[in-house]
């Protein structure tokens, strides 16, 4: 590679990110709830030498409304638990990172932490976690433990306190997970026959976390994951979420719509308090890729007609050729964007556009790998393996 290497992730969700993607002739909507469907997608991503895939999830049905079901029958509804889906894919892959979404709001931080740790064990060090809050009143009603205000576009301004509270809880959940992952030192298992001890309990640590929403004693029941700390990621559109990402995540996904916005979001993130390794900044884009721009735009337009509305997204939407997309990604990279999480408009079509077209175009520009250079997700992202917070105490 000649330039600074670009990292590429692919965001997988159902038949793609366009609401009508499942109606595209290449889509396989009847296979959505089979393991084989997902195995083909992640296999394609791995053949394309993609750094990692993310898998969307939520604790409620998809909806076009901010809160509550929309009653629409013409859109994909239903999702697998993403952590378990990632685990199902782990033995079928060998190098690509697997980054499922897991909610911090209603879940038990202990269970999420050992789930991600276990994903790291079964994948040999390729696990990540996309940590996400659930603000919806309709999701809260699935648990019946807390009552949330109904969030609408009109009232979102009144709910800043609610959102900020959920993000603070998310930060606590990530902190608990990180402490649990470190609660076993790497060499805690000693199998010392002479003393009859399987573990050295001085290398197992209580975490004694106390927060406003939960307390967790520890240690983890699961030995330290192969990566030490699986990679924590978060999507952040604006300030309170950006603070959460800067304080808690290893990778943040941002949604600039042009180069100037990319520059300003990078500057904003870099100004936030941060401990440890610098935050990796990835930009999200929805992509429709074809051999010529006209065909990509036409395809997107046809899907819009099926859906009855012009496609809108929180992220920038690109419809064009892989060559033009490669130029755009390199241009934005000048502002400090280090990688991209691409959301294919339709799978497998736009996934292949990324894994075959875009990767070749980037390789010709000297900024994308010819082969996987590491066998862990941290390795692919250039993140060192953390020694663990208790390491020094016991060796000194």
């Amino acid at each position: 590679m000649t330039g600074a290497p670009l990292h590429l992730a692919v965001a997988l969700d159902a038949a793609g990110w366009h609401p009508a993607a499942w109606r595209d002739p290449v889509a396989r909507p009847r296979e959505l709830f089979t393991a084989g469907y997902w195995a083909k997608l992640v296999g394609e991503a791995e053949r394309g030498l993609i750094d990692f895939v993310t898998i969307e999830d939520a604790l409620g049905l998809q909806s076009s409304r901010p809160d509550g079901p929309d009653g629409r029958l013409d859109l994909v509804r239903g999702r697998f638990d993403a952590v378990l889906l990632a685990a199902r894919l782990a033995p079928l892959t060998s190098a690509i990172g697997l980054v499922p979404t897991a909610t911090t709001t209603h879940t038990e931080p202990f269970h999420v932490a050992i789930g991600i740790a276990t994903l790291d064990h079964v994948s040999g060090g390729r696990a990540g976690w996309r940590a996400q809050v659930s603000a919806r009143a309709s999701d809260a009603a699935h648990f019946g433990r807390r009552t949330f205000p109904e969030v609408t576009p009109e009232t979102i301004g009144e709910h800043q306190g609610h959102i900020a509270g959920l993000l603070a809880e998310a930060a606590d959940a990530v902190e608990v997970a990180r402490r649990l992952w470190d609660s076993w030192e790497d060499d805690a298992e000693i199998r010392d026959v002479a003393t009859g001890r399987f573990v050295d309990r001085d290398r197992l640590h209580y975490i004694d976390f106390t927060g406003s929403r939960f307390s967790v004693k520890g240690p983890s029941i699961t030995p330290r994951p192969p990566q030490g700390q699986p990679v924590v990621t978060a999507l952040a559109h604006a300030r309170p979420a950006q603070e959460f990402a800067a304080g808690s995540a290893d990778v943040v996904y941002v949604t600039p719509h042009d180069r100037e916005q990319a520059r300003s979001v990078v500057a904003e993130l870099r100004s936030l308090p941060r401990a440890g390794e610098p935050l990796k900044i990835f930009a999200d884009l929805v992509v429709f890729l074809d051999g010529d721009t006209g065909r990509a735009v036409e395809r997107r337009t046809r899907l819009d007609e099926l859906d009855g509305a012009e496609f809108a997204s929180d992220a920038a939407v690109f419809a064009g050729t892989a060559e033009d997309l490669a130029d755009l990604l390199l241009d934005w990279a000048q502002t400090g964007i280090q990688g991209y999480r691409l959301r294919p408009g339709v799978v497998p079509h736009d996934l292949k556009g990324i894994t075959r077209g875009l990767t070749s175009a980037l390789r010709r520009r000297g900024v994308f790998r010819d082969a996987y250079e590491a066998d862990t997700l941290r390795g692919l992202l250039g993140l060192p393996r953390p020694a663990g917070r208790h390491r020094r105490a016991s060796t000194s």
Binding site: P25, L59, L61, P69, G78, G144, F198, I221, T222
Partner: protein, 458 residues
């Protein structure tokens, strides 16, 4: 689909009862021998894969993972003498679904420290991802010790454990049933993904849970993942009879087994169920040898590994309720009496009536001149089946034919190779006798267990 029952060779007119077998991944108590040089990793996926594939090679009904949500403690410190550490059960099962094709995948998940909507979703996900092979062993915990790791926190009154579990399972089944079997049309023209009324609405207000909304997954291949339940108490038996598909029971004598079996199966009719709707599968350990003598030697050697000198003292401390580390494990039992108020262990089953146990042990040790370690070896966990492959197969078969069990959940003492010999040497004998399947006849765990798909017959 119900497993076929071919008549056995040489016994026209008599159809023997079919045996069901499951493989328990070695757990975090002293049954699991880690001091043997052949003992492998307790956490590497390769170990889980080896045991699961061995079980599948042996045409077992299912693979079983236990759970414990807090590391065990002794004398206020983490217990370090047994295997420590295990994965999140369902995450490993989802991965195993990728490397097995027919084997059922059973995970223990606590109903006290989970919420129905999320857990029902996770179990339905495993059922989809394994094409209908998921099972849930429902356990409840009441102790505040484990609760310290959870939002929900401490204590659940013991009396509430089964009411919570029962409401949890009812609710999970309601969620699993809430999508019509044909809810997904996925018809691009005219653009109908979900059929009208395909996704039902839940509105549940109960003592333990209040839940309203819609589930996020289509009905899974088994309709309901298989429910396993362990519990010997009257309440536990009643819960099993009302709710479970499989009972994971304790192994005892043939007569004890017959009594338990008759009692639990006898409760089914009151819940509108047939005797075959519930399978009773005790846990069982085993030791094999080419001769009876060799098997007995192997069994004794395994027991010595399971009860190290340190483990013997630790075991004694649980009964005596005090620090016994000053005593020689190879020496005689001390004269001191148990401290009936002392509590040295956390996160494991308590021993009741310590004075009586201590008196019984003392009498046994004096009569047989046993050291502390020899005594502990004597009074704890002898293998269920010891013998040549022929005798072990014969005794397993005898238990099932005598209606003392429908089969066994085998607990090997070694990770990951502890089931190899059983599958290579005992299973073929059971197959020759015509009491265990030579090939899988169905694809789902319900097929293997001969359980109907819920709602399908109605």
């Amino acid at each position: 689909m119900i497993a076929s029952t071919d008549p056995p060779p040489g016994r026209p007119g008599h159809v023997p009862r079919r045996i069901h077998l499951a493989a328990h991944f070695p757990g975090v108590n002293n049954t699991t021998v880690w001091t043997d040089p052949r003992s492998g990793s307790q956490i590497d996926f390769a170990s889980f894969q080896h045991l699961a594939r061995t079980a599948e090679r042996g045409k077992f009904d299912f693979f079983f993972l236990a759970e414990g949500l807090r590391l065990r403690e002794l004398k206020g410190r983490i217990h370090d003498l047994d295997v420590v550490g295990r994965p999140e059960a369902l995450t490993v099962l989802a991965a195993l679904a990728a490397v097995t094709e027919r084997l059922g995948l059973a995970g223990t998940v606590n109903a006290t420290f989970n919420e129905p909507y999320e857990l029902a979703r996770r179990l339905a996900t495993v059922d989809h991802l394994s094409d209908g092979r998921a099972a849930w062993n429902v356990v409840t915990t009441s102790d505040a010790f484990t609760g310290e790791n959870f939002r929900r926190g401490g204590y659940l009154d013991r009396a509430d454990r089964y009411t919570r579990a029962a409401e949890f399972v009812r609710l999970a089944r309601e969620l699993w049933d809430s999508w019509q079997p044909d809810a997904i049309a996925a018809n691009p023209e005219p653009g109908v993904f979900v059929r009208p009324d395909g996704i039902g609405t839940i509105d549940h207000q109960g003592r333990h849970f209040t839940i309203a909304g819609q589930f996020t997954l289509p009905r899974s291949p088994q309709g309901h993942p298989v429910i396993i339940q362990a519990g010997d108490s009257d309440e536990g038996r009643e819960f099993a009879a009302a709710t479970a598909d499989v009972v994971f029971s304790r192994h005892g004598t043939l007569d004890e087994g017959r009594a338990f079996y008759a009692d639990v199966k006898g409760r089914l009719a009151r819940h509108g169920r047939e005797p075959d709707d519930l399978k009773i599968m005790p846990a069982a350990t085993f030791a094999l040898g080419d001769t009876e003598e060799e098997a007995a030697e192997n069994a004794a050697e395994i027991r010595r590994h399971q009860v190290s000198p340190q483990t013997a003292i630790a075991y004694l401390e649980q009964v005596w309720g005090r620090d016994m580390s000053a005593y020689d494990p190879e020496g005689p039992l001390p004269d001191i009496e148990p401290d009936t108020d002392g509590e040295v262990s956390q996160g494991r089953v308590r021993l009741d009536d310590r004075l009586a146990i201590a008196a019984k042990w003392r009498a046994l040790a004096e009569e047989r001149r046993l050291s502390i370690r020899e005594l502990v070896i004597e009074v704890t966990g002898r293998q269920s089946f010891v013998g040549t492959p022929e005798t072990v197969a014969g005794r397993i078969d005898a238990f099932v034919q005598a209606a003392a069990a429908d089969g066994f959940i085998l607990v090997p003492h070694l990770t990951p190779g502890g089931l190899d010999d059983f599958v290579d040497r005992v299973v073929p004998i059971l197959q020759e006798r015509g009491v265990f399947r030579a090939e899988y006849t169905g694809t789902t765990l319900r097929d293997h267990l001969g359980l109907a798909v819920p709602g399908a017959a109605a």
